[in-house]
């Protein structure tokens, strides 16, 4: 609570400006349901109240204007007319924004203006660009059971942007504190090109060593030598469920989404799926979004997840293709904060 005293001539003005982090926040929050915008969900609004008192002789009649302004934009205001001492109050719900806002209470009287204000922290980024992917970090890996064949890998380390993956989900999730909609567009799912090579002709080191030769990578004639077959894996086993809004509790708004993947090698019969089944719970507010990734994955290959380019998890492969037969056997439980 901020108190300001101002005295001009024989008048005394008291402004009491209540910010939502104090007890009034709860009552303000409960009022949200009545004030919620129509759409997919309720956004977050910060309730403010402002009280003012003026002191003057009984014979002195005058008018005053009390208003709440957020980020320079008029929010709510009332005019009062009377004589002598007066007390006024005003309330207003300020919608959350991804950026910090200056919220002010301004009292205008015939003898001048006085104000009080505070900074309402932004409610985190407007959108969380969520990426989940599984990739083979090697240049190539052996065919699971055929020594005369190898498969191309993604040949990379952990990276938020670019590079190929065996399976990848990208989902732009909107901040529920500031958006009635849940996402920018539906989640997109993709699989990398599975490429099978002839072992003997495709490696620059010979005898199963070295890297894939340029000629092999750029061979698009099916069958041996070099690249033998190629195809994209099916994305039918990949999806993200509906984004659930878990309501607002000032100064936070929370939502979650459950994403799953089960992607098999399209060129090998009876191959086990690369699995993940992870729920991402996002708590937005106070200039950041806190993300909890909770669920399971396989031990192979490497798994990574990012939000707005910042890592939620990076797991190096621990096992082989054979370990994929375990049914999503490694627990995922990570919590990270991403600043807005």
């Amino acid at each position: 609570m901020l108190n300001r005293w101002a005295m001009r001539r024989f008048l005394v003005i008291l402004i009491s400006f209540v910010c939502p982090s104090v007890a009034t926040a709860q009552s303000g929050n409960s009022a949200l349901s009545a004030l919620a915008d129509p759409g997919e969900g309720e956004t977050l609004k910060f309730p403010y109240s402002c009280q003012a008192q003026t002191f003057a002789p009984e014979w002195y009649c005058y008018s005053v204007n009390l208003q709440i302004i957020a980020d320079g934009n008029f929010g709510n205001g009332t005019y009062h007319w009377g004589c002598g001492d007066m007390t006024f109050s005003i309330g207003h719900q300020v919608p959350a924004q991804p950026w910090d806002q200056t919220v002010s209470c301004i009292l205008e009287t015939p003898w001048g203006q006085t104000s009080d204000g505070l900074v309402q922290p932004g409610s985190g980024p407007n959108v969380a660009n969520l990426k989940i992917s599984a990739f083979i970090r090697y240049n190539w890996i052996g065919h699971p059971f055929d020594p005369f064949r190898i498969f191309g890998g993604d040949d990379r380390s952990f990276q938020a942007y670019g590079g190929t993956s065996r399976a990848e989900t990208i989902y732009d999730i909107l901040n529920p504190a500031v958006n009635t909609q849940n996402h920018v567009a539906p989640a997109s799912h993709g699989t990398g090109l599975a490429q099978m090579y002839e072992t003997g002709s495709s490696l620059d080191g010979g005898a199963g060593t070295g890297n894939l030769r340029y000629e092999a990578i750029n061979d698009w004639q099916t069958g041996p030598p070099l690249k033998v077959a190629w195809e994209f894996g099916s994305t039918s086993g990949m999806n993200c469920g509906s984004i659930l809004r878990h309501g607002n509790s000032l100064p936070f708004a929370t939502n979650s989404v459950h994403c799953v993947a089960a992607v098999t090698n399209p060129l090998v019969e009876g191959s086990p799926p690369i699995d993940w089944r992870i729920t991402f719970t996002m708590k937005w507010g106070d200039r950041k979004v806190e993300i909890r990734a909770n669920g399971c994955r396989d031990g192979y290959p490497s798994y990574e997840s990012y939000v707005n380019g910042q890592a939620i998890f990076n797991y190096v492969d621990n096992g082989s293709v054979a370990s994929l037969f375990g049914d999503c056997l490694v627990t995922v439980d990570e919590t990270k904060e991403i600043s807005g």
Partner: protein, 286 residues
């Protein structure tokens, strides 16, 4: 001072963080039916990934008990345990796994009817796992790199399942299996029918399988698929045409048209590669 130091050391011991949850306990066959869900899943996952070694009878019992569980998560773990045990000989490239499967396989024969029955499980994840398990259970370790020859009852069961299966991911797994395993007359007929499926991944595998089977009567349909909206189908159609060799010569002009209008880099390169391969085959008189 000494007392304070002792107290500090004691406090640090007391405050040692404890693990939030214990890892799953490996259950014996006798304990399985009354075990906790996490322990059941943990046990079956350990079997699937060959981290748990038990006598073949016990392995088979645990898989059977898991497949009969009321919980779909347990049945899923059980079906992948069956797949994982069978696939050890195929995927692990380790003689110990081959030897282990040789011992387990005769015992696993009794689990097979249950795995076949699991093709009709209410859970799509379990049904998909059943297909993967059957493929790997039919694998014969000959030391040669060749496609898996499915047992007669497996082919019959998979073809039958295709008549009823509505779940996309399971349907795709069925098409993939019939396409990539050794050709069978029953699966060949089914693959021809699958060319007209609305599911793009199913059509893709039908094209792949028919090219391996060498069924030239479907060539006109495969050439048409070069214009399909799905790049995976176009990619596979182009590769299939190359596999047909000189039989595809009459379709070269259509392939060239497709090459001109193709926007996807990988598909364009593949069509170009296939045209080149067919011309090379033609000049070599193959």
């Amino acid at each position: 001072m000494t007392h304070i130091l002792v107290l500090l050391i004691l406090a640090s011991i007391v405050q040692e963080p404890q693990p939030s949850s214990a890892p799953p306990r490996v259950l014996s066959a006798a304990e399985f039916s009354t075990g906790a869900k996490a322990d059941k899943r943990g046990t079956l996952n350990a079997l699937a990934s060959h981290q748990l070694h038990a006598p073949p009878e016990e392995v088979a019992f645990l898989v059977e008990a898991g497949l009969l569980d009321a919980d779909a998560d347990i049945r899923s773990a059980a079906i992948y345990a069956a797949a994982g045990r069978a696939a050890g000989a195929r995927f692990a490239l380790d003689q110990r796994f081959v030897d282990r499967w040789k011992v387990e396989r005769p015992v696993f024969v009794r689990v097979r009817p249950l795995v076949l029955k699991t093709l009709a499980d209410p859970s799509p994840r379990v049904r998909q796992g059943a297909i993967i398990a059957l493929v790997n259970m039919d694998y014969e370790h000959t030391g040669k790199s060749e496609r898996i020859r499915l047992a007669n009852d497996t082919v019959a069961a998979l073809v039958e399942r295709l008549n009823h299966e509505a779940e996309v991911s399971v349907r795709i797994e069925l098409a993939k299996t019939l396409s990539l395993c050794q050709p069978d007359p029953r699966s060949r007929d089914r693959l021809v029918a699958l060319l007209e499926e609305p599911l793009v991944d199913v059509v893709k595998y039908a094209v792949m399988g028919l090219a391996t089977n060498g069924s030239p009567e479907v060539l006109p349909r495969i050439v048409e698929l070069l214009k399909h909206r799905d790049r995976g189908i176009r990619l596979q159609a182009a590769q299939a045409l190359a596999k047909y060799g000189t039989a595809s010569i009459p379709y070269l002009s259509q392939m060239e048209e497709a090459l001109v209008s193709e926007a996807d880099t990988v598909v364009r390169q593949t069509i170009y590669g296939s045209i080149t391969a067919i011309r090379n085959a033609s000049s070599a008189g193959k």
